[in-house]
């Protein structure tokens, strides 16, 4: 539909005096003289109470003054009074945008543009919204209009090129940049923004495959000094020369870069490629070159850059494991680290452990150092040349070995080593945290927390130790203590340490505290934390918005484009995935068993009183702060964005009792799937299909498949929420037909196939439960995890115990006792009495030191 010619509203025109006042009102708003603006609006409204544009402006100003609801009502009234004014729609769009209603705001801007199609402010705001909403076709149109209106503005050209780029048309982006540069005259020297634009142009040429053109382009502008980012220039040239130039020139360019920074792995990769040694994903974490020529080059370079750690590790990766050379190089690498006392030596070295021969060589070397030190001999075997090795070298050797054995799963040995080290020097925090980590791996969570807390007490200023300690307390289920520890570093005037960390977007805290609450059965509080994580990610998404304007205005193009890319895959960030899975698991459990809701609130009932009191106090505090602020400056601009509203659901009970838990779960998971929304059962089938294609033998998948078959085919079960279709064609893709193999047969087959894998045994037990087998049979399958020859780790053992308890299985305690014997140092399988005895029996580390 072509835009209708707007009919001028007869009520809009104001007499001269008021019309002047209205212009003044606009000016006052723009210069943020809000009080005066209100007064001016009121003067107009006294005479013309139905003037829509004035009403809208007054509403906008009121919103800025913190009187949000009142302001919004006025704006809506104003629109109704003057539907064809671009001002009223622009104002409405601004307010919707502040409410994060991007779709709505864009609609309002479109409406405004119908009546004032060349208004640049509205066009720009619309472009930002189109970028935020990733509507690139619309964005292109808007950018073209803006450029036509003001072709002399650099940012309009850049913005159009970027729009083409985002829409995927690099060639068009390139053309726009060329046209722009033809219009240029007299660029001032050393113009950073122009330099950034030129680098962007070159990057596009490179991405288009026009390597020599890109190189010429760079060289031409480098000659005139127009490109000022010399590192970026040199990197781009090296890349382009590698693609086009003679090998020796390309090689020289990489070597020049290495002279500037010999720890950049990309430079080594580039150099190796020039020598036709394209070794795939050569990096520190991935497999190394096996080509002897590559090794030769790397060794040659290490003569030139002896201090480059990245290179040293690359060489260690590249050298054949069984060679004497590896032993010599590893020895030198380890000795330097131990002499210098580099705490991260193990972390940087363990990457080599993927090669077990290298791992064993390193173990032999470090054990050798320890033996030599035990005998009082110098480590490098060169007596008299140096001072006797410092006692700290011995300490770091013990520290390395303890980490080494713990990483290999030999936790007892690691523990003995770290205790020896603590007797030697009890004041090194790293030793206490390591002892904590080993105890955690052994399953003694409270002991682990104690150990890490001992490290924290050594240095009250170290926030890393503080956070670690709090995390271990959360893991051990002591939420209150974690809060006290965290409170040492959070803002003193925050309502609680947790609230401050939430405001600071601490994903670590939110995730760990959510998981702790979940383990304690306080599902409401767990949901509260997971929703807070969701909000953090929404905030990240919203935070992009300001950059759509800012980055283009300041020509920060290359980084801006990487930010857009980052934002597009934001929800793949591990913290979001973890929160989404945990939260949806709770919602699904609540859906399956609504009785959980009561349980959750019963647990927290005792604390409710306490929490309420606390909340009241905090609210009063916040109220005071607001009062103080408002009395301080009545004219203060509070901005368009809503102030954080009072939390109506501080303990998450409303979340837990949501009438549609499955919808909630789906909303958490939706950003994770790449599926198109379809009917519920098709969604389930698609998700299962995809899971199966990723990892067909994953034990967790098996009970899901059986569950899905049962819900889809059993007419005796009531249709689950949202499941409408009774025929499930995708089912046949997942499982053989019912006639071919009954669920019972499938389950038995699965169990037989994975008879030595405890995780699979648990899955088979779950599967048996899903298809309605009697408790004794389910229990019998689960107990099979204790059989000889079955590999069972701590986590799986605990999961099986939880499963048996949920089932109210009679033999659950038998299973617990067996695990307590099998995992002797773990506290996960102890009754409270046994735990007390365990604690009394063990010699606490503090006393052990005194004995020594």
């Amino acid at each position: 539909m072509p835009p209708q010619t707007p009919q001028p509203n007869p009520k809009r025109a104001l007499p001269n005096k008021e019309s002047g006042l209205f212009r003044e009102l606009l000016h006052l708003y723009e210069s943020r003289q809000l009080k005066k603006a209100i007064k001016t609006a009121d003067t107009i409204l006294k005479k013309f109470p139905e003037h829509g544009e004035t009403l809208c402006m007054k509403g906008l100003v009121l919103t800025h003054l913190g009187r949000r609801d009142e302001g919004k009502d006025l704006v809506k009234r104003g629109i109704r009074l003057d539907l064809t004014s671009h001002i009223v729609w622009h104002v409405f769009g601004l307010i919707q945008k502040a409410d994060k209603d991007y779709d709505g705001a864009l609609k309002s801007y479109h409406q405004a543009l119908r009546f004032e199609k060349d208004n640049q402010n509205i066009l720009r705001d619309a472009a930002h919204l189109q970028t935020q909403l990733r509507l690139y076709d619309q964005l292109l149109d808007t950018r073209i209009i803006l450029l036509r209106l003001r072709p002399n503005l650099r940012q309009n050209w850049i913005a159009l090129a970027v729009a083409h780029h985002l829409a995927g048309d690099l060639q068009a982006a390139c053309t726009v940049l060329e046209q722009y540069q033809r219009t240029l005259k007299n660029v001032p020297p050393h113009d950073v923004e122009h330099s950034e634009l030129l680098l962007y142009h070159a990057r596009i040429l490179e991405d288009l495959g026009a390597h020599s053109q890109a190189l010429d382009f760079l060289d031409e502008h480098a000659r005139t000094g127009a490109i000022v980012d010399l590192v970026a220039l040199a990197e781009a040239r090296a890349r382009l020369l590698s693609a086009t130039g003679p090998p020796d020139v390309a090689e020289a360019s990489w070597r020049t870069l290495l002279k500037q920074n010999a720890d950049n792995v990309d430079y080594y990769r580039g150099l190796l490629r020039v020598r036709c040694l394209d070794l795939g994903k050569l990096s520190l974490s991935i497999l190394a070159p096996t080509d002897p020529a590559a090794l030769g080059l790397l060794v040659e370079l290490s003569d030139e850059f002896p201090r480059a750690t990245a290179l040293r590790l690359l060489v260690l990766r590249a050298v054949p494991a069984s060679s004497d050379r590896f032993t010599a190089l590893a020895r030198a690498h380890l000795l330097t680290g131990l002499h210098k006392g580099i705490p991260s030596l193990f972390a940087s070295t363990k990457g080599l452990y993927t090669d077990t021969v290298k791992r064993d060589t390193i173990e032999r070397l470090v054990e050798g150092f320890k033996d030599a030190e035990d005998r009082g001999e110098p480590l490098d075997g060169d007596v008299g040349k140096r001072d006797p090795d410092a006692p700290t070298t011995y300490l770091w050797t013990l520290y390395y070995l303890a980490q080494h054995y713990s990483a290999l799963g030999a936790h007892q040995r690691a523990l003995a080593l770290v205790v020896t080290a603590l007797q030697h020097t009890p004041t090194l925090p790293e030793l206490h945290t390591l002892r904590g980590r080993i105890l955690k791996r052994l399953g003694d969570l409270a002991g682990a927390a104690d150990a890490v807390d001992a490290a924290r007490r050594l240095d009250g200023q170290d926030r890393f130790l503080n956070t670690k300690s709090a995390k271990y307390w959360l893991r051990a289920g002591d939420v209150a203590r974690a809060g006290d520890v965290l409170g040492l570093f959070t803002k003193k005037d925050a309502p609680s340490p947790g609230q401050d960390l939430e405001d600071m977007q601490s994903l670590l805290y939110l995730l760990e505290s959510g998981a702790a609450e979940q383990r304690l059965g306080r599902l409401n509080l767990a949901l509260k934390r997971y929703h807070a994580i969701e909000r953090v990610f929404s905030d990240f998404e919203d935070d992009q918005y300001d950059f759509h304007g800012y980055s283009l205005r300041r020509s920060i193009i290359n980084i801006y484009l990487s930010m857009i890319k980052w934002a597009n895959s934001l929800r793949a960030y591990p913290a979001y995935v973890a929160a989404a899975l945990a939260a949806s698991e709770i919602y699904i459990r609540v859906h399956d068993d609504p009785a959980l809701v009561k349980l959750g609130s019963a647990v927290s009932a005792a604390e409710e009183k306490k929490a309420k009191k606390k909340a009241k106090k905090a609210a009063a505090k916040a109220q005071d702060a607001i009062k103080q602020a408002s009395s301080a400056n009545a004219n203060e601009d509070k901005g368009l964005e809503a102030q954080p509203a009072k939390d109506e659901d501080p303990d998450g009970t409303k979340l837990l009792t949501d009438p549609a838990p499955l919808d909630r779960a789906w909303r958490f998971l939706a950003p994770l799937r790449s599926l198109k929304p379809a009917s519920e059962d098709a969604r389930a089938a698609q998700a299962l299909n995809r899971a199966k294609s990723l990892d067909p033998e994953n034990p967790d998948l098996h009970p899901c498949l059986l569950h899905f078959r049962r819900t889809c085919t059993s007419p005796s079960l009531p249709p689950p929420h949202g499941l409408t279709s009774r025929n499930c064609p995708p089912l046949t893709q997942l499982l053989p037909s019912e006639e071919e193999a009954s669920s019972e047969v499938l389950n038995a087959r699965f169990l037989q196939l994975h008879a030595r894998d405890a995780r699979a045994i648990l899955s088979a037990a779950k599967g048996a439960r899903v298809i309605g087998a009697p408790v004794e049979e389910v229990e019998g399958i689960a107990m099979g995890a204790l059989a000889d020859g079955v590999e069972m780790d701590l986590k799986t053992a605990r999961a099986i115990l939880d499963f048996l308890r949920k089932l109210s299985a009679p033999r659950a305690d038998e299973f617990r006792k067996a695990c307590d014997t099998q995992f002797a140092l773990s506290t996960l399988f102890k009754t409270p009495d046994e735990l007390a005895a365990f604690r009394a029996e063990g010699v606490p580390i503090e006393d052990a030191e005194l004995i020594a």
Binding site: D387, H424, P426, L458, D459, G460, E849, L850
Partner: protein, 170 residues
């Protein structure tokens, strides 16, 4: 070959006591001395006026020793009483203790607020090693306190002291 002073100064460093590192002090005390110190003791060593005389000692950036003194005012001048001094066992005989004592003596010589006349301390009788260590650093025995230690045997202690000469003010 005994380590030279130059080696020592590159490996050993000092830090003032603060409420944040007092946990390390407590840990060292618990390992070094058979006495459990009171909260009053810790409050005292954190006072700003003894900052130069209560120090944590680091060897290769790891805390390994502690030295704590008290200032006793004598009119306008003062005595410095050495409360505790200790180094973790693996770090002894490396010159750390001598270096610590030297630092404290230097601080005492340049202390302007209430000029320090002498440093003195008690050593349990029978601890000949400690006694000769202090004598090597210019301390002399000036008396014996027969019942200095209340809870441990022997209860007698030598009193040792060293006079402090003021550094010339520039």
């Amino acid at each position: 070959m005994p380590p030279t002073t130059k080696d020592i100064s590159s490996r050993v460093s000092f830090a003032s006591l603060t409420p944040n590192n007092v946990g390390t002090v407590k840990k060292l005390n618990s390992v070094l001395f058979p006495v459990k110190y009171s909260d009053k003791f810790y409050a005292e060593i954190l006072q700003p006026d003894v900052e130069d005389f209560c120090r944590l000692v680091y060897y290769n950036d790891i805390p390994v020793g502690i030295i704590c003194c008290r200032i006793e005012l004598k009119g306008k001048a003062s005595d410095l009483y050495l409360l505790t001094m200790g180094v973790l066992a693996p770090y002894r005989h490396l010159g750390v203790g001598s270096y610590m004592l030297q630092q404290i003596s230097d601080s005492a010589s340049s202390h302007t607020k209430s000029p320090v006349q002498r440093i003195y301390l008690h050593v349990q009788i029978s601890n000949d090693g400690a006694k000769s260590f202090y004598e090597k650093h210019g301390f002399v025995e000036v008396g014996v306190d027969d019942s200095y230690y209340k809870k441990i045997k022997p209860s007698a202690a030598w009193i040792l002291e060293k006079a402090i000469s003021r550094t010339k003010e520039v």
